[in-house]
Symmetry: C2
Subunit: 263 residues, 2 copies
C-alpha cells in the first residue's frame, strides 16, 4: 500500500464502535496516519481493564469511510485490544489511540475507564498509547478537539513513553476557552457513586449506580483535574507497571516477615 | 452485639459468592473478627475494576453459617464493594478482605483481577484492604492457607497502609513447601492470552481468551512473582493513586506545552 510509511495506529474506545467520539478521532487521524479500528460492539463505559474469559468473542468487519479496516468485537475494550494485537491486525501498530470518551477520565478515574483500559492493555504489552477523553457528558463538542489531535499524536510518537506507560489526555468542557497544553500529574478528583436505592415489584431492593463528580478540595494545582477545569488540555504520563508503595514496604518488611516464626 | 469490639471486616471476591475460596476466607476470619459478606452473584474473574452503570444491581440476602450477614449482588466485584460501603453495611468496615482467588494475582495481574478490584475500590475511598490469591488454578488447597490469614490480617490492621494503598497477598502452589512470609515488590510476570480462533457455523470467526503464565526472564528477584515460585507467601503494598511517571513528565513537559503555540 502507498500508506506503508505512515505510522500505523490502532483506534479503539469504550463507548462502542457506533459512538460519535470514535468517529471524530478517526476524522482527526485518518489522513496523516494509517489507521485501523477495533472497538467494542456496544457501550462499555466503566469497563476498566475487564477481560472476557468464559464467553466467546465474536468479531465482525464493519463498513467504514475511506475503506478503513474496522472490526466490532462482542466484548470489552480490553478484549478488543487483545484480539487486535494477537489476531486481527496485519502488523504491529506504532501507537494505540482510544476515545474520544464521553466524560472525563482525568484524576482517579483512570482505572475505571475502558478508554484508559485500551491504553493500559497496550502499555502492559509494550505498545505506547494515548487515551482521549473530554470533561463533558452531555453532547460533547468533539469537533472542537479534532485539530489538536494530530500534533498530540505526533509528539508522543516522537517522544515514546517508556514500557508500561501511556498518556492520558483530557479536553476541557466546551464553555471554557482553551488556554493551552499542560503536561500534568494525575489529579485526585474523580467520579463517585451514590447508589440510588429502589424497590423491585417482587419486594427486594435494587440499585442504580449514578455518578457525580467528587472534587477533592485538596486537589493538587499541577494535577490534570484542576488544570482541565482552568481550560487546559492536559496530558498525564501514567505508569501501570510500578505500583509498589516503596516507603511502606521498607518500613514494614521486617515486622511482617518475623510474623512467620510462630508457624 | 457482644462482637462490637472486634474489628469489622467486609469479605468479598471475584469468583462469586458460591466459590470455595470465599468460604475458606470466612473460615479463617469469622471467629476472631466481626465479618460481613457482600460478593458477586456469579463468577466475575477478570472483572478488574469494572463497574455497572446501565443495568440495575439487585441484592439478595444469602443464608450463611453462624448467622453471618451475607449478600449476593448481580454485578461486578467493584459493584459489590460500592453497594456494601454506601448502602448495605450497618457501619464502616475496618478492613476489606477479598479472595481467596483461584489463580495468582501476583505481578502484573493486579489490574485485571476482580479480587484486587475489591481492594482497589476500597483503597480509592480510604478503606484499607487485602486481596488474597493462590498460585493454583486446579483445585487449590485453600484449607492449607487458613491458618496464616488471621495473623496477616491483624498485622495490616495494626500497620494500616496509607490512603490509596492495599496489600496483595499471594500463596504458593501446593507442591511447594512454605518457606516464610516476604513483603515484596510487584513482579513483572503475568497471565497472557493467546486467543484461540474458531469458526462459527454462520461463517464468522470467534475467539476464546485462554490464559498462560508469561514468565519474564528478567523478573526481579525481590518481586512477588519470583518469590511465590520459591515457596514464600508474599505481601505487596500497591498504591493505586500515584501513577504519574514523574521522570517522563519532567523531561517532556516543556516540549509538549510549546506545541500549543501554533494554535
Amino acid at each position: 500500500m502507498e500508506n506503508n510509511k505512515k505510522p500505523y495506529i490502532l483506534i479503539s474506545n469504550d463507548d462502542g464502535i457506533s459512538a460519535p467520539g470514535i468517529k471524530h478521532l478517526w476524522n482527526a487521524l485518518h489522513e496523516q496516519f494509517d489507521v485501523v479500528i477495533v472497538a467494542p460492539n456496544s457501550e462499555k463505559s466503566g469497563a476498566g481493564l475487564s477481560t472476557t474469559m468464559f464467553k466467546a468473542l465474536h468479531t465482525f468487519k464493519v463498513k467504514w469511510p475511506n475503506d478503513t479496516v474496522a472490526y466490532r468485537v462482542t466484548g470489552t475494550p480490553t478484549d478488543s485490544i487483545k484480539l487486535a494485537l494477537s489476531s486481527l491486525l496485519e502488523r504491529k501498530p506504532d501507537l494505540i489511540v482510544s476515545g474520544i470518551n464521553r466524560g472525563s477520565n482525568a484524576g482517579r478515574n483512570i482505572l475505571y475507564s475502558g478508554t484508559c483500559g485500551c491504553a493500559i492493555e497496550g502499555a502492559l504489552r509494550g505498545f505506547p498509547g494515548i487515551a482521549f477523553s473530554c470533561d463533558e457528558l452531555d453532547d460533547p463538542s468533539y469537533e472542537n478537539f479534532e485539530k489538536y489531535i494530530p500534533d498530540i499524536v505526533n509528539h508522543f510518537l516522537k517522544n515514546r513513553p517508556p514500557f508500561g506507560t501511556f498518556i492520558n489526555v483530557t479536553f476541557p468542557e466546551k464553555t471554557l476557552e482553551i488556554k493551552g497544553f499542560k503536561m500534568a500529574r494525575q489529579g485526585k478528583s474523580r467520579w463517585f457513586e451514590s447508589p440510588d436505592k429502589r424497590q423491585h415489584p417482587e419486594g427486594h431492593q435494587y440499585f442504580w449506580l449514578g455518578g457525580e463528580w467528587l472534587f477533592h478540595e485538596e486537589d493538587i494545582l499541577d494535577g490534570d483535574t484542576h488544570l482541565v477545569k482552568q481550560g487546559y488540555i492536559t496530558a498525564v504520563p501514567i505508569d501501570v507497571t510500578e505500583l509498589t508503595h516503596h516507603d511502606y514496604l521498607e518500613k514494614n518488611k521486617q515486622d511482617f516477615e518475623n510474623l512467620y516464626k510462630k508457624f
